[in-house]
């Protein structure tokens, strides 16, 4: 009855789903791109950014990667568009745009 969850998607016929939708295998939440729920999207305006890194720890979904002390472009797979990052940015380096 158990099936690799990665083989299941919204086009899967009912009789090919797992019994009681049981999810077999661990760490599957990474495959669930909750960013699809987003109705507004943060834009990174790189020329305004001072790399103060205030935005990174405030993101509830860890969508602002930091490499060698510098924040990178948003990773939007899990970004729900909450806008906290845009709110804490003191340098207008993040703007919220309506839409996905």
């Amino acid at each position: 009855m158990s099936t690799d969850i990665s083989k299941i998607n919204p086009a899967t016929p009912y009789h090919q789903l797992t019994e009681a939708l049981t999810v077999v295998g661990g760490g599957t939440s990474r495959q669930f791109h909750t960013g699809e729920w987003r109705t507004s999207t943060p834009l990174f305006i790189v020329e305004n950014c001072k790399q103060c890194l205030l935005c990174t720890p405030t993101c509830p979904d860890s969508c602002i990667p930091v490499v060698e002390g510098k924040r990178q472009e948003f990773e939007l797979d899990y970004c729900k568009g909450c806008g906290i990052c845009a709110n804490v940015c003191s340098f207008s380096a993040i703007e919220m745009k309506e839409g996905f």
């Binding site: 009855m1 919204p10 009912y14 009789h15 009681a20 939708l21 049981t22 999810v23 077999v24 295998g25």
Partner: protein, 393 residues
């Protein structure tokens, strides 16, 4: 050799539990089912079985604990009655939709109000759409036999659904009658071990049970659950056939008592069927062709088989020991009438509400009903579609 004993329905079910020695029993006391966990707790205290007994603070908790234990991979059961079942409401659906083969020893008792501790089927009838298999007993022997068959049905890989084994409060649960028990080793061999393919305590295969389903999946999950209930029809018959080989007692979806050549039939569930059989014997001696259909399996509902069994009669009295407050009859009345129509068995039918809150059902009442059916057919007398019988007027 079968063991001849005498015991109450509660003790009979507890005895079956002792023979099965399930893994986990979370339970909360409620009349008239309290004795079942009491007996089992005694067996555990005496070292006769090693079931894990969890004393919980409510039935909401007992069914929640049963859901957790079953998901973890344990053969699980609980017992309850009446308001206890009502308090389990949410978890009944969770147990069924998560496809957890939990057994519930239900001792039927009315729901409040007026508050009352006696038998009717209001509690389990309310749970008829919860996705549980429901099997009913006429007496302590059937309660025992049904419980011995329960896990074989519920745990079958084609089914994997929870099962309610119902008996009538006090009338069956507390009355002491003769009974034939099976030997312990026969029961153990018949029931077998429980080895679920996936379970939470299997560290080698991580598992998430009961995940949130977005609209893309919820309907498909329910269709799968419905098909499992559909497949249980055959499994129930197969298990009954195996049981007959071991015990010499045969079961099906229902028992037909002198129904084959009957002109007038009564259809009912539970202990009152014994009374109806006595009334039928008396009327048969007087030359009246009457018979009984005693429904054993209510979920899944054997609608086609019921229609075929009744097709030849002139009239049937559909007996409900529960009011549905839909305005116009009880749950059995509704479903049996629908079955007769669906399978084009166009016989006269009338729905009677009887035995609510422990009201006695007597042979006189049964004979009165058969007389009404006859007057309806022979004299064309007006008989209400649905009425209370045994009511002070």
């Amino acid at each position: 050799m079968a063991i001849r004993e005498r015991m109450s329905g509660n003790e009979a079910v507890a005895h079956a539990i002792k023979q099965i020695n399930p893994d986990v029993l979370p339970a909360f006391p409620i009349t008239p089912s309290t004795e079942i966990p009491e007996y089992v707790a005694t067996y555990i205290a005496n070292g006769e079985i090693d079931t894990e007994f969890i004393p919980v603070e409510s039935e909401h908790s007992s069914m929640s604990a049963a859901v957790g234990a079953s998901a973890a991979g344990a053969r699980t059961l609980t017992a309850t009655s009446s308001c206890g079942l009502a308090l389990m409401w949410e978890e009944l659906y969770i147990a069924a939709s998560n496809r957890l083969p939990i057994a519930l020893a239900l001792v039927n008792r009315t729901l409040s109000g007026p508050i009352n501790i006696n038998c009717d089927h209001t509690d389990s009838m309310g749970a008829r759409d919860s996705g549980w298999i429901q099997i009913y007993a006429e007496n302590n022997q059937e309660a025992y036999d049904n419980f011995v068959q329960a896990y074989r049905i519920a745990e079958h890989q084609d089914v994997r659904l929870p099962i309610m084994i119902c008996q009538d409060g006090f009338i069956t649960s507390h009355a002491v009658e003769n009974i034939e028990l099976l030997e312990d080793d026969l029961v153990k061999a018949f029931v077998g071990d429980y080895a679920p393919a996936e379970y939470l305590l299997n560290a080698a295969r991580p598992l998430a049970v009961g995940p949130y389903a977005i609209s893309d999946y919820g309907m498909e999950a329910r269709k799968n659950q419905e098909e499992a209930m559909e497949r249980s029809r055959q499994v129930i018959l197969d298990v009954a056939a195996d049981f007959a080989k071991v015990a010499g007692r045969s079961y099906a979806y229902f028992e037909e008592y002198r129904l084959e050549d009957a002109e007038y039939a009564m259809l009912m569930i539970g202990s009152a069927a014994g009374t109806a059989k006595d009334a039928i014997d008396e009327l048969r001696e007087q030359g009246m062709m009457v018979g009984l259909l005693k429904l054993r399996v209510y979920r899944p509902f054997p609608e086609r088989e019921i229609a075929e069994a009744l097709r030849h009669v002139k009239a049937v009295a559909i007996m409900d020991r529960a009011e549905s407050y839909r305005g116009g009859g009880g749950p059995l009345g509704m479903e049996v009438n629908a079955a007769l129509f669906k399978y084009k068995a166009f016989i006269e039918s009338r729905n009677y509400i009887y035995g609510l809150a422990g009201r006695d059902f007597t042979t006189d009442l049964a004979q009165q009903i058969f007389a009404e059916l006859e007057s309806l057919v022979v004299e064309g007398q007006q008989i209400p579609d649905y009425q209370y019988i045994g009511l002070r007027k």
